[in-house]
């Protein structure tokens, strides 16, 4: 994806690169305590994943990027606002780093972590 041809040759950006940027931007977002594997097969190893491509899926249709992220959020925060911030932050970082337009960022809240019940 993200093909570009310059006078020196082609530039090819793989979905994994987008996933990695997304992963780091997500983990820096306040309220997110981890990414969750997006399917069961990935999830057998652990509930919180450290492999970017497990919690993030990236679709590219030739012009736009669609990103889905599966996150675990800290219990007690306003989930709506946290998810919105994640979407904003991810969009900003991916667009800034790659110069490609992000069409949509879908945030799936896969679970909550409860550190302090109240």
């Amino acid at each position: 994806m993200g093909e570009e041809t310059t006078s020196l040759g082609g530039i090819h950006i793989s979905p994994n690169a987008v996933a990695t940027i997304t992963y780091h931007a997500t983990l820096q977002s306040y309220g997110v305590v981890g990414l969750a594997p997006k399917n069961l097969a990935d999830g057998i190893v652990s509930t919180i994943t450290r492999v970017p491509s497990h919690g993030v899926s990236v679709h590219y249709n030739g012009s736009d990027i669609d990103i889905s992220i599966h996150v675990i959020i800290e219990y007690g925060t306003r989930i709506n606002s946290v998810a919105e911030s994640v979407a904003n932050t991810v969009r900003f970082h991916v667009e800034k780093a790659l110069g490609l337009r992000v069409n949509s960022v879908n945030v799936h809240v896969a679970g909550l972590r409860i550190s302090d019940p109240d």
């Binding site: 977002s29 309220g31 925060t77 306003r78 606002s81 911030s85």
Partner: protein
Amino acid sequence: MGVDTARVEKFRRMPIDGQSLKRLVDAGLTWLRTNQQIVNSLNVFPVPDGDTGTNMVLTLQSAWNEIKDSGTHNVGEMAAAVSKGALMGARGNSGVILSQLWRGFSRGIHDKAELDAETLVKAFAEARDTAYKGVVRPVEGTILTVAKEVALATEAALGSTKDAIGILEVAVKAADDAVKKTPDLLPVLKQAGVVDSGGKGLFFILEGMIRHVYGESLESPTMTVQSMSAMNLQNALEEVEEGQDYEVVVDFVPQGELDLGSFYGRLEDMGTSIQVGEGDGMYRMHIHVPTEKRYEPIDYIMGIGTVTKVAIENLLAQMDDIQRSKSSQISFTTVEPGQIAVVTVSPGPGLSRIFASLGVAAVVSGGQTMNPSTQDILGSFENLPTDKIIILPNNKNIILAANQAREVTVKQVAVVPSRNVPQGLAAMLALTPEGELDAVVEKMNKAAESVKSGEITVATRSVEIDGVKVKEGQVIALLDGKLVAAARDVEHGVLDLLKKVKTEEHEIITLFYGEDLPHAEANRIADRVREQYSSLEVEVQEGGQPHYQFIISIE
């Protein structure tokens, strides 16, 4: 504006109970709101969208709404209510963190009836701990760092400070210092020449509390000199007050040290929205003033330094531009489950806004070619929280795609086959969201049929249709889709079109002007129409559609 010592002494002796905490929260909110634009202008991290101040104000406002009617004297209960309100209203990144700080603060004192120095320190510590738990990779140099420094400094001060007010003073000082250090911890702040916005917001909340104790004003913004690159004059425009018609920006080099206190004092006599920026010994002053005072700031500054550059702009003209650039932000009607939601295809931003104001739940942008796909239409309503959908295609070429969208969804969808925008608008006026779908569709169909629609555009080829000869490039007028006139300019196109309508049967003419037609020109043509049809009401609206200079609704 000195400190009222007697008042402070009274506060020191008085324990902080629920009601005192309530007043402190109010003061924190008021002071934050007063300085909201400063906080917004600092916002470069994590996303530079200039909304940190607004988000924090809205979050704390929600907390205030939760407690404003509370009469409890128990400080633990009051803090719990603040925490709940902040959580419910948490907006944006900084708002979520602020709500977490309150959550921790409240947890630290949940079993206390009053705040003393020790409990307040414990509350600050809990606030920090809770806030840090909400993120895997805390970024230092943000509001989190400020909360941490406040907790550390107050813990250290506990030995020597015996009363809660003393601890609050330490907290304010620590927050101020921590905010100043944020650029050293977060490089992106240093590059932009700003301090962290969320941290600054937290500082304003704490400072507002202590200003309340000191009996200082919470209404006039703090006197600051920002870095020149951080001055956000665009934001200031949103705060234009009645009568402040001119924006004056003066760059200058002061003779000797600039005395901020008297500088601000003089400027406040002249106008509002004062901002002062500094970079490499050069200062920039920004102010909004009434027309008759537009030269005063310049004269004043010439007296205290060397003026290098002056810019005076008429704000009313600028406001128009801003309104235009805001065109993408449209707020649609929210639909409840079970209600009927209308989605519509719109050829231009102005028309989208008009449709939104009439209650549509979503707009499919028709694009340059007015040719959205079935998928586009489907996507517009699939996520709406209701199963009853009405589609207004507003173009005869889109009716087919709309019908296809109806075939492929599980939702109950009806298409009101509006062939143009005026029909769609007329149909919207007949909408009752709570009604039976079939009955509503019938009413909307009827309404759509009752309106006459005119379109003014430019012929793309030479042709003769229905006895009207048209040359390429000529202005043509269509009435209900039929070519009725060819004219030498837009004005004559409109007037010729109206001649073909039995205007005595109608009351209102609305002219939606397209993206190629200037606002002033549209108004001028509307005036000509008014002259000729004095019995009709003539309205002008921005349609923003491409290709068509005017879309005309005749009701």
